[in-house]
């Protein structure tokens, strides 16, 4: 857990801990919007007098946003079974138009690549992977009454019967004109089956609080954020509760110095010696001491063969110390890192063992941490990559790990002549 960040803090347990509820962001990324300037929502009507049918335009306007798919058959708006539109768009008045007799669908909808988003999927509050099929906006231009002021937003997830619950998403936050606009799931129209997907739709007009997203039907880049169920956090009110130490035994504040390389904790912001105060602990979460298998201090070199630039440490450039991995690593002992470099935006970590020509097993470690501009692992890593996120291969006594960026060479690990320090930690 975490210690409370303000208020009375005890050395040991100060009684019942407080709880706070905080928003829970499941995904946040960019939304590059495409625009289609002319889209209809059309539906079949049984015309006045009965037994005669005709199509009527219920809504007409511009549509912007993003939808996935590579062709008509895979684009959500091109489907013919879209009950969400029945909920979102009102039927035309009966007198002159007859009676709506089918489910509306889009006509003249975009059929080629339409917008893009930074992440096409997210993990919801119940740990399900959800794939985003569309985030689209409608702006009426020549819609008939009663839909002539009907602006709308539709959010589509892949698959039918995705639960209409906060675990799926609590709200969708869209950024328009530098302002966040929140669309709450519980106030949305919901269709559990619209063209093989589950859809939520909000209707509004230009006088409501969300009128700032009227511009979202145009092309441009903005942001979206998917919020999950709120997170309830319980905060410890005693230092011993967070950092260890029995209530029943005597403890002193001096027992809680930060001890990197020692046994108790390695929490930044808490002194390692000298004056130590209660306020040093406010808001702190205990950071356990990590025993890493390799903690290599490196100085970046640089090479360029016109079309390829390498920044970091490899066989030709840069230098490294303490780059031998302790213990059994990749199934072997005596393994060392001989490349930790960035070539054209891709990170490479290569290992070998002198005299060994066999293969390595992809095991024995979990995480690579990169600390920029320093020779130690103090503070928070600038970059953490799980072993399982790397591409791995092994042959002839070499183990190759690759992670695709792009990583800017100026940052990882310094442009021409920079000679920047960095620290690579294998845990």
């Amino acid at each position: 857990m975490t210690l409370l960040s303000s208020g009375p803090l005890a050395l040991q347990n100060a009684g019942t801990n407080s709880t706070t509820t905080t928003p829970n962001s499941l995904e946040s990324d960019f939304l590059t919007r495409a625009q289609d300037g002319y889209v209809n929502v059309t539906c079949q009507y049984e015309l006045p007098g009965g037994d005669t049918f005709g199509n009527k335009v219920e809504w007409q306007g511009q549509v912007g946003g993003y939808q996935s798919g590579t062709g008509v058959s895979t684009r959500w708006m091109s489907g013919t079974s879209l009950p969400i539109l029945s909920l979102l768009i009102d039927a035309l008045p009966i007198g002159a138009n007859g009676v709506r007799s089918s489910t509306p669908s889009f006509i003249s909808e975009p059929t080629s690549t339409f917008g893009s988003i930074g992440s096409t999927y997210y993990t919801d509050g119940a740990s399900n992977t959800r794939t985003i099929r569309a985030i689209i906006f409608g702006n009426p231009s020549s819609s008939p009454s009663p839909n002539n002021t009907r602006h709308w937003v539709i959010f589509v997830l892949n698959g039918t019967s995705v639960p209409n619950s906060d675990n799926t998403f609590k709200s969708l936050i869209l950024t328009g004109s530098s302002t966040d606009y929140t669309f709450t799931r519980s106030s949305a129209h919901y269709s559990s089956s619209s063209n093989g997907c589950t859809a939520w739709a909000w209707e509004y007009n230009s006088t409501t609080s969300n009128n700032g997203i009227d511009s979202m039907y145009t092309s441009g880049t903005s942001g979206f954020e998917i919020m999950g169920p709120d997170t309830t956090v319980t905060l410890n009110n005693g230092i011993a509760e967070e950092f260890g130490g029995a209530d029943s035994s005597n403890v002193a504040l001096s027992d809680y110095y930060r001890t990197p390389g020692g046994t108790l904790h390695d929490t930044s912001g808490i002194p390692t010696s000298g004056q130590i105060k209660f306020s040093d602990f406010l808001g702190k979460t205990k950071v356990d001491i990590i025993t890493y298998q390799m903690g290599a201090s490196m100085v970046a070199g640089w090479s360029s063969s016109q079309y390829h630039t390498t920044s970091g440490f490899d066989l030709n450039v840069g230098s490294a110390t303490n780059n031998t991995v302790a213990g059994t690593f990749l199934g072997q002992t005596g393994v060392y890192c001989y490349i930790a470099a960035n070539t054209n935006g891709t990170l490479y970590l290569y290992f070998t063992k002198d005299g060994y020509t066999g293969t390595f097993s992809n095991s024995g470690w979990t995480t690579a941490n990169f600390y920029l501009d320093q020779h130690t692992n103090s503070g928070t890593p600038d970059l953490t990559i799980a072993r399982t996120a790397f591409t791995f291969t092994t042959s002839n006594g070499n183990a190759y790990y690759t992670h695709y960026g792009p990583y800017a060479s100026g940052t990882y690990f310094g442009a021409s002549g920079a000679g920047k320090d960095y620290f690579v930690e294998i845990i």
Binding site: T32, S68, T113, S116, G159, S303, Y307, T343, F392, T393
Partner: protein, 287 residues
């Protein structure tokens, strides 16, 4: 070389699956799989393309190409461009005899276009007659400056890119004496300035590595609709891709001296027709 692919479910992978490629020598590469629109199934085509790229980049022919080129003295290089089945032009380092002859012509007609044509011995020059748009069919001189484009050059051609590669090209029409500039930009910059073309081009390309792009500007600030994309890839992969998509393979495959000298590939992509119109192969050796 023959390859087999296996997709295996594993909780260790971020996507829940890994895709493994194994060559006929038993060497394998594994990478987290990519999922299709369902979010729970492996996109086999995408995943196999990704792992094949990684294979060639880490231990295959792309790695060999890079290591070979590193051994060449850049001040003596001779790059041959192949397109449409034969050699289209040869670029020479400016310090070579052939390069100096071309530099003399540039200095005679365009003495003030840049401060110096040969202050960087990695600069490349070529004489050729263009065979691809937007260049017309007049005799041209190509000049590649292996320095970051100056603000003067960027202003002259109205280029506002944030991430230019540390080199750029100028194309001199010897008949009209007009000059075009070719700004070379990173993959990230292309994604920022033209995300639709970036996505469409990546969808079209074969398994390849280290992509970057080039955009052609004139002095009126116009940006041509043809975009160049450059990448490294295995020759067999590119050949199969050309056959599958009815693209003309750039060189004569009966000439077995070409493939060992390959170092990069290029394509011309028309942003209006959304098609790849030309495929180019580049070899590098020294004079």
């Amino acid at each position: 070389m023959a390859y087999t692919y296996v997709h295996t479910e594993t909780l260790e992978s971020p996507s829940g699956f890994i895709t493994k490629i194994t060559d006929s020598n038993g060497v394998s590469v594994e990478t987290p799989s990519e999922l299709n629109n369902t979010g729970i199934e492996v996109d086999e085509t995408w995943s196999e393309k990704k792992v094949l790229k990684a294979y060639h980049e880490m231990i295959g022919s792309v790695n060999s190409q890079i290591e070979r080129v590193k051994t060449l003295n850049p001040s003596l290089v001779m790059d041959t461009t192949y397109m449409g089945g034969s050699s289209a032009r040869i670029d020479y380092a400016v310090g070579t005899t052939q390069g100096q002859a071309i530099v003399t012509k540039l200095e005679a007609t365009w003495p003030d276009e840049v401060a110096s044509y040969d202050n960087n011995n990695q600069n490349l020059v070529a004489e050729y007659t263009a065979a691809r748009p937007p260049y017309d069919s007049n005799p041209c001189i190509s000049f590649y400056n292996f320095d970051t484009p100056t603000d003067v050059i960027k202003t002259t051609f109205n280029a506002t890119y944030e991430e230019c590669q540390p080199w750029y090209g100028l194309k001199f029409d010897t008949v009209t004496e007009t000059v075009l500039a070719k700004f070379v930009i990173t993959d990230t910059e292309m994604k920022n300035v033209d995300p639709y073309s970036w996505e469409e081009i990546h969808d079209l390309l074969p398994a390849c590595s280290y992509t970057f792009f080039a955009k052609i500007h004139d002095k009126d600030g116009n940006i041509d609709e043809n975009v160049d994309v450059y990448f490294q890839a295995d020759a067999t992969v590119v050949q199969e891709w050309c056959t599958a998509n009815s693209y003309t393979f750039p060189y004569d495959t009966d000439d077995n001296t070409i493939e060992p000298m390959l170092f990069i590939w290029g394509c011309v992509y028309n942003t209006t027709s959304k098609e790849i119109t030309h495929v180019k192969a580049y070899t590098r050796t020294t004079v």
